[in-house]
Symmetry: C2
Subunit: 102 residues, 2 copies
DNA sequence: ATAAACAAGTTTATTTTATAAACCAAATAA
DNA sequence: TTATTTGGTTTATAAAATAAACTTGTTTAT
């Protein structure tokens, strides 16, 4: 009936981060912070969780002399996101396709 | 960019309960328990939260001699659910309708 | 040159939430 | 009559989210 929801993605901030990264392909910490409205601390924690799960990669570089944290979604992350969306649909009373049920 | 998600609905079990109640109009505790796969304790707690928010009404009746907890979604709950789904779409990179944005 | 302010995060502590385990009361079965 | 089952509730624990405090280094002002 209801498919289980990946707890890692069923979080407002992490979902926003993933959504953002999927749409832009790569983004820096301050940009993500601004777009999501998250606090730096919260964002740092949630990015770590996504990275630990292999959903994103975090590349620490420098932009001139300033540290620059660059984030990118991985194929695993993209797949997880798509699966999450598919699972979520089972809760939304939306029938996206009437032909066959897996 | 990303609309905030109603925390009361952004919960796997509560979302399942709401989805279920919307589709069936009314349901008894054991049925909801079976359909969602929740434990009785967890279900009891989450139903209370939904009732406290006015998203559902819980009617305690008897079925013969046995107690029967009947749940029904309210108009407020239905509205909240619809709003939640609309907010959620801002995270899913899905453009459900290209004509006009409220 | 030194100090104050700022940028970019991280770490830690607090609060909230979810979940399960334990419990209770009444009804039915043995 | 004493288990056992049904239908839950309450309480305790584990996990999560979030914010506050802190760190490191840089830029700007004095």
């Amino acid at each position: 009936m209801f498919k289980p929801l990946d707890p890692l993605l069923h979080s407002e901030l992490r979902l926003a981060v993933m959504s953002l990264l999927i749409s832009v392909d790569e983004a820096e910490f301050p940009y993500i912070k601004q777009q999501t409205g998250a606090t730096a601390g919260n964002l740092s924690v949630q990015l770590d969780k996504l990275a630990t799960a292999g959903y994103i990669v975090i590349e620490k570089t420098f932009k001139g002399k300033k540290p620059c944290t660059l984030c990118r979604v991985t194929p695993v992350g993209l797949k997880a996101f798509e699966d999450y969306v598919a699972a979520l649909r089972t809760y939304l009373n939306v029938k996206p396709d009437t032909t066959q049920q897996t």
